[in-house]
């Protein structure tokens, strides 16, 4: 059997199991082990059920995932999202669309102390949604802005999507965190530009508010000081080289817990709930990563990546066209699949192609994160849209999707810029290494 046929059979079997409602991580383990056994026998195939997971379970890099999840849990309990939003709103709320600008800025800031996009959107919705609606902002525009703000998190370190990409692609996490800095700033700017365009075209969606006096602004800033201190500790320590990524994750988890306790915001019930949710998310992520790792083992043993590179190398099309094709495929796949799972399943054979085309694995990581970000708000799945709908059931899904549209355009512009100019992501890490 040729490697391409083995690869196709593996993907077909995987899709079949996934459609049969087997959890994605477990489906990847089954296909990986059975595929490996058919090539090398059951003895060696079964041993990877311990050898691969043991490496991942003992990985201090991957352990940053639960630590950043815990940081998000404690930061939410400490009320950081409301503090950050209040501070941003005090400075921007009087402008037309000011609360929307504050939401994007606040989500970006809160994203820096929270590990997950859905948690960022859900937490921020509690602070921003009632306030924006109370001040007469349109429902679609409000929810669209919060959803877009939540997705920004994926591009802002410490991002769990980035960590997962790095573990599977064997790329340095810090390299990806560095490469994300400029694209993240660009994403924030494009989202703010989307708001500017929307309020210019239809001023009724975002009325002006009252200007906060200096005393109110200073009080709001003081309230946000602990959140800013946590951000400074995590980012300062990480980017100045004082801490490794693992240490920064430890600092983040411990400090956010300390802040939550010191502010008296952490009662037993919220601590118990937060820990339970973090534990469940941790195990879910580990099982997918273990599955992806075993599936990759099978694909590599069958020499599927090399065969694909050979097949694609024979095509007379420019590399950027192949990248564009892959991006469209991901967006279509994301319509029926979970984007992160799609990224992890396809990475074993897509990344070698990308590298063969002359692109950088770090750049592809950033591109993947933007695709995941987009997938969280595009129909029909759009997980963040569903989260917001769950929090505000009186706002129709269609209204939220309509509100998200300008931000989808902003993300597509970002994706196009990053695809055409990889240096947007790569210039900073390259300059710092030099």
């Amino acid at each position: 059997m040729s490697p391409l046929l083995i690869g196709a059979a593996g993907i077909a079997a995987l899709l079949l199991l996934i459609l049969a409602q087997v959890p994605i991580g477990v489906a990847m383990i089954i296909v990986g082990v059975v595929g490996y056994a058919l090539q090398a026998g059951w003895g060696p195939a079964l041993t990877i059920l311990a050898s691969e997971p043991s490496g991942l379970l003992a990985s201090v890099d991957l352990a940053t995932v639960p630590l950043f999840l815990l940081m998000g849990t404690f930061a939410s309990a400490a009320g950081f999202s409301a503090d950050i939003y209040r501070a941003a709103a005090a400075f921007l709320g009087h402008r037309r669309g000011g609360l929307a600008y504050a939401t994007i800025g606040g989500c970006a800031a809160f994203g820096a102390v929270c590990g997950s996009s859905t948690a960022t959107a859900a937490t921020f919705a509690k602070a921003a949604l009632p306030e924006m609606l109370r001040r007469g902002y349109a429902e679609g525009f409000t929810t669209g802005t919060i959803a877009a703000g939540g997705t920004l998190k994926s591009l802002i370190p410490p991002s769990i999507v980035m960590i997962l990409y790095c573990i599977v692609s064997r790329t340095f996490i810090f390299d990806l965190f560095l490469a994300a800095v400029v694209p993240a700033l660009l994403a924030i700017a494009l989202n703010l530009a989307a708001i500017w365009v929307v309020v210019r075209l239809d001023p009724s969606v975002a009325p002006r508010g009252e200007r906060a006096v200096l005393g109110e602004r200073l009080a709001a800033l003081k309230g946000a000081a602990p959140a800013l201190a946590l951000m400074a500790a995590v980012f300062g320590g990480l980017y100045s080289g004082i801490f490794t990524v693992n240490e920064a994750a430890s600092v983040a988890a411990v400090l956010s817990l300390a802040f939550a306790v010191a502010r008296g915001r952490l009662d037993r019930a919220s601590l118990w709930r937060g820990l339970r949710e973090s534990a469940s998310a941790t195990a879910m992520i580990y099982l997918i990563i273990i599955g992806a790792s075993i599936f990759t083992y099978y694909m590599t043993l069958a020499r599927v990546p090399e065969a694909l590179i050979g097949a694609i190398g024979g095509l007379a099309v420019p590399p950027v066209a192949i990248v564009a094709f892959l991006l469209v495929a991901y967006l279509i796949l994301g319509a029926v699949f979970d984007e992160i799972a799609a990224m992890l399943i396809t990475l074993p054979f897509v990344l070698p192609i990308i590298e063969k085309l002359g692109y950088d694995a770090v750049w592809w990581g950033i591109i993947n994160v933007v695709v995941v970000e987009l997938g969280m708000i595009i129909p029909p799945i759009g997980i963040i849209v569903f989260v917001l709908h769950g929090l505000a059931p009186h706002i129709a899904l269609r209204t939220i999707y309509r509100g998200v549209l300008p931000f989808i355009v902003a993300d597509l512009v970002l994706l196009g810029l990053l695809t055409l100019v990889p240096d947007i992501a790569l210039a900073l890490p390259r300059a710092l290494k030099a």
Binding site: A50, V60, A63, P66, A253, S280, A283
Partner: protein
């Protein structure tokens, strides 16, 4: 019928309580390790004297702590699953597939638990220890294997519950 249903509910409650408690133990261990890692980083930065053994034992503690979270995701059925079949072929087919999928998950976790026992046995026979503190590594992996066997038991509960749901006649 009502008695059977109540027994199943009690079984589910026991499973949830047990796995949630275990997962919290794992995360508390992880937080303790994070505090030690923070202290180690500060000691290295401020006094150029790292705390010996934090990194050494850290990987093994992480392995046990994360393993503690696996049973809860199984009991809560929180793994990412695509449920297209249920919406296409109806709820009954969906429930039947859920039961079969639960059985497949149980088989995979059992195979993993078995292989972790074999893996830990090899490490014990080889007398493997950590680099700095010379702590034997096998007991940590035996612990991971034991937690995975517990996960098999928990998944057994999920299989029973899912099979019961699949064969139960829909109410009037």
């Amino acid at each position: 019928m009502a008695a059977a249903s109540s027994r199943l509910q009690r079984l589910e409650r026991v499973g949830l309580t047990l796995t949630r408690a275990l997962s919290v133990v794992g995360l508390v261990a992880l937080m303790a390790l994070a505090a030690m890692t923070l202290a180690d980083g500060l000691a290295r930065w401020l006094a150029n004297r790292p705390i010996e053994g934090v990194r050494d034992a850290g990987a093994l503690i992480v392995a046990v702590a994360v393993a503690c979270c696996i049973p809860v995701v199984l009991m809560e059925r929180a793994n990412i699953t695509i449920r297209v079949a249920a919406s296409v072929f109806g709820a009954r087919v969906g429930r039947a597939l859920d039961a079969l999928a639960a059985l497949a998950v149980a088989a995979v976790i059992a195979a993993m638990a078995w292989q972790f026992m074999v893996f830990a046995g090899k490490l014990a026979r080889a007398g493997e220890t950590t680099w700095v503190l010379k702590i034997p590594v096998a007991p940590f992996w035996y612990t991971v294997a034991a937690i995975l066997w517990l996960a098999v038991f928990v998944q057994g509960i999920v299989v029973i519950l899912d099979v019961a749901r699949a064969v139960r006649r829909p109410g009037p």
